[in-house]
Symmetry: C2
Subunit: 148 residues, 2 copies
DNA sequence: TGGTTATCGTTGGGGCACCCAATGAAACCG
DNA sequence: CGGTTTCATTGGGTGCCCCAACGATAACCA
C-alpha cells in the first residue's frame, strides 16, 4: 500500500530538505486539526506547555525557550490570557517583565491538548516502528538545532 | 555535547511534529538562501526539476507530481517562463492543457540550482554520518507520504 | 447524438509560521 | 550617572499551503 505509488519522477524527493518540508506539513496538519477541536493552534499549545514547565516566566524567556519571535509571543499570550489559560502580571522585581503563569483552567486545557498532540503524533508516525520513531527523533534533534 | 545544553524544559521538543517543523524551517532557510543567489525559490527549483524529468507536461500533472496547488503553479510557471527557463505552449492534442517544457537556459539554470540545493542539504545534514543521513531519508519517506 | 460530468488553466481570497526593524520604559553596569 | 541592554509592544513583510469559482474544453454515457 506504500510501494506501488507512481511516486515521483523527481530528484527533489530524495533531498532531506524536501522530505522535511513534506513531513512537517503533514505533521502540522495533523496536530493543527487535532488542537483545533480545543480552539487552539500549535503555538498556543507550545507556549502553554512551556509556561507550565517554567513556572512564572517572562515573555522574552518564553520566546527564547520555545523559539518564537517576541512579536508573535505577544499575540499568543494575549490569546491565552483572553481564554483565561494564563495570567499576565507585572513582575515586581523587574517592571519591564510580565510574569506569565498558567492557571487552573490552563492546566486542564493543557492536559487535553497534550493528549491530542500525542495522538496526532502517533498517527503521524503510524507507519514507523517504535525503534524507528526513536531514531527519527534522535536524527531530527541533531539537525533541528540552528544552534545559537 | 548534547546533554548539557540548557536545552528545553519542554515536553514539546520531544514531539516529532515539533522537531519536524524546526528541522524543516532550518532546511528551508538554508536552501532558500542558496537558491536566492540564482534568483529562485524552492518551488521554482522543484518545478523546473520536475519539468526536466517529465518532459513536456501539463501544469495539472506537474502540480500533482510535485504536490503544488494549481493556483501557485500558475505563478510559478509564469516566473519560469518570464525568465526563459521553460516554454508554455498550447497542447494541440488537448486544447485545455499547456505543454510545459524546459529550455536550454532552463537546463543550465537547473544544473546550478541542483548543485546549490545539494550543498545546502549537505550543510543541513552536516552533523549526520552518511548512514544516519540515509536513515533519515528513509524514515522521512515513510511519514512524508500523507495522502496522494 | 446530446446532455452530463470531469478536467484544465486561471483568478481571487485567506490562514499560518516565520522573520526583521523600531520604540518607550525599565534595569543594568562601569 | 550616562551608555548599553533588555523587555513588551507595534508595524510590516515573505513564503508555503489550501479552498472556491469560472469559462473553456474534453471525456463519458445513456
Amino acid at each position: 500500500m506504500s510501494d506501488d505509488t507512481p511516486y515521483a519522477p523527481s530528484r527533489i524527493r530524495a533531498l532531506p530538505s524536501w522530505l522535511l518540508g513534506r513531513a512537517a506539513a503533514r505533521g502540522h496538519r495533523l496536530v493543527a486539526d487535532a488542537l483545533a477541536t480545543e480552539g487552539m493552534r500549535m503555538m498556543h499549545h507550545a507556549v502553554l506547555s512551556a509556561v507550565d514547565e517554567l513556572g512564572p516566566v517572562s515573555q522574552a524567556e518564553l520566546g527564547r525557550t520555545v523559539g518564537i519571535d517576541p512579536k508573535d509571543m505577544v499575540t499568543l499570550v494575549n490569546d491565552l490570557q483572553k481564554d483565561g489559560l494564563v495570567t499576565r502580571t507585572p513582575d515586581p522585581k523587574d517592571r519591564r517583565k510580565n510574569a506569565v503563569e498558567i492557571s487552573t483552567a490552563g492546566r486542564q486545557r493543557l492536559r487535553r491538548t497534550q493528549q491530542l498532540g500525542d495522538q496526532a503524533n502517533a498517527e503521524l508516525t503510524a507507519s514507523l516502528t517504535p525503534d524507528e520513531r526513536a531514531q527519527l527523533i534522535t536524527l531530527l534533534g541533531k539537525i533541528a538545532v540552528p544552534d545559537r
